[in-house]
């Protein structure tokens, strides 16, 4: 009887270790995705936040007078869509830092709030991506029907930085999406 009990103990240990390692793998994935989301949204906010370009444009008013050199500048806060993009990336970045601290400390009761806020961050980040992409495309191509002229032939570097920021923000929002997916996967595995 005693030998049977001793033989059953290592098997139980192995099962418990397998269950623990699976949940540990899920937890590591969760933390990794949060760190990734934090880094990407921070980079996107910074890249768009320091975006500024000034160019000297020669303007001809009359044929007889010499050309006047006028400095024109493009800043990110001239367009409300880019302001929304910087704001939502900053909010998502601070939320990722907060939820990373919560996840590392390991409190169980906060999980429902974290899931709900993750979902809201997904929605906000995707909508700001769409807005910035639409405005960027408008600046890149212009719109002949409404007579909105394109801007990116003059401000090339500005438009390139906007494109980089949008792609970083897109990757960050995809990582938040994967976070929600992995949370529901972990919950399903726990319920089985």
């Amino acid at each position: 009887m005693e030998s049977q009990n001793k033989a059953s103990l290592p098997v139980m240990d192995g099962l418990e270790r397998r269950v623990a390692s699976r949940s540990e793998g899920g937890r590591t994935c969760d933390l990794l995705l949060r760190v990734l989301g934090l880094v990407l949204t921070l980079a996107a906010a910074i890249v768009l936040g320091v975006n500024k370009q000034t160019k000297v444009v020669p303007i001809k008013i009359l044929d007889t007078l010499p050309e006047i050199n006028l400095p024109v500048s493009a800043k990110w806060h001239y367009l409300p869509a880019f302001t929304y993009s910087v704001a939502s990336n900053a909010i998502a970045c601070s939320y990722a830092a907060l939820s990373l601290a919560l996840a590392v400390s390991g409190k169980k009761g906060m999980m429902s709030i974290v899931v709900v806020l993750d979902l809201l961050m997904v929605a906000m980040l995707f909508s700001s991506n769409g807005a910035a992409l639409a405005i960027g495309l408008m600046g890149y191509k212009g719109n002949s029907h409404v007579r909105w002229t394109k801007v990116c032939n003059v401000f090339g570097r500005f438009c390139n930085q906007v494109a980089v920021s949008i792609s970083l923000s897109l990757l960050g929002s995809i990582s938040f999406l994967l976070l929600v997916g992995i949370t529901s996967l972990r919950l399903l595995k726990k319920s089985k």
């Binding site: 929605a123 769409g130 639409a134 409404v146 949370t183 529901s184």
Partner: protein
């Protein structure tokens, strides 16, 4: 006499509990199906309202006649075209999940709850980005932008702007519904965890 009374009392309590449980489940089920039909209706409404936004006005033109009628429709802007395609995908998703929910009743629900949750989050991303894109372009059309030299359009084309604005509001309602759905799916999975 007292000993035969107690088991009857306990049995009646158990049968009452057994009767109380199924009606709650079918209430959640009918609410779930009704909300999915509402999502389908909201997406189709947004698409239809945006497609029927058309207005012709006489505007100043830089070439000879100096005034010509110009039509504003949704295909003038690629953001609106993306908005319509994304919301029609969401409408198709709404009706597909309604059919799946009705056909496969709660017996198989645990396995499909995960699929619903993942697809709901994906659809939320698509609908939210479409709403944001159309909202950004419509905001410039409403207010203009002096720094870039883009003139506002909505003082001339007022009916067109009203159509576009209401379509975007309905799409916002559809994305809020999708957030609700994902929360419902995740919490249904959470409730099935054995305590």
């Amino acid at each position: 006499m007292a000993s035969t009374d107690k088991p009857d009392h306990r049995e009646s309590i158990k049968s009452e509990e057994a009767l109380a449980a199924p009606p709650r489940r079918s209430n959640y089920f009918s609410v779930h199906v009704a909300l999915r039909v509402l999502l389908f209706a909201a997406s189709v409404t947004a698409v239809v309202v945006m497609v029927t936004a058309k207005q012709t006005e006489i505007v100043p033109v830089p070439v000879f006649p100096f005034r010509a009628p110009l039509e504003a429709k949704f295909s003038d802007s690629p953001a609106f075209i993306y908005f319509i395609s994304a919301l029609s995908v969401a409408g198709l998703y709404g009706i597909l999940t309604t059919l799946v929910s009705i056909v496969l009743k709660p017996a198989h629900e645990t396995r499909f709850l995960l699929h619903f949750a993942l697809l709901d989050v994906l659809m939320l991303g698509i609908v939210a980005s479409a709403t944001g894109a159309a909202g950004g372009v419509a905001y410039i059309g409403l207010k203009g932008n002096s720094h870039v030299g883009w003139v506002k359009v909505c003082n001339v084309y007022d009916k067109f702007c009203q159509h576009v604005g209401s379509s975007i509001a309905v799409a916002l309602f559809a994305s809020v519904l999708l957030v609700l759905f994902t929360m419902l799916s995740v919490f249904s999975i959470y409730r099935k965890i054995p305590k």
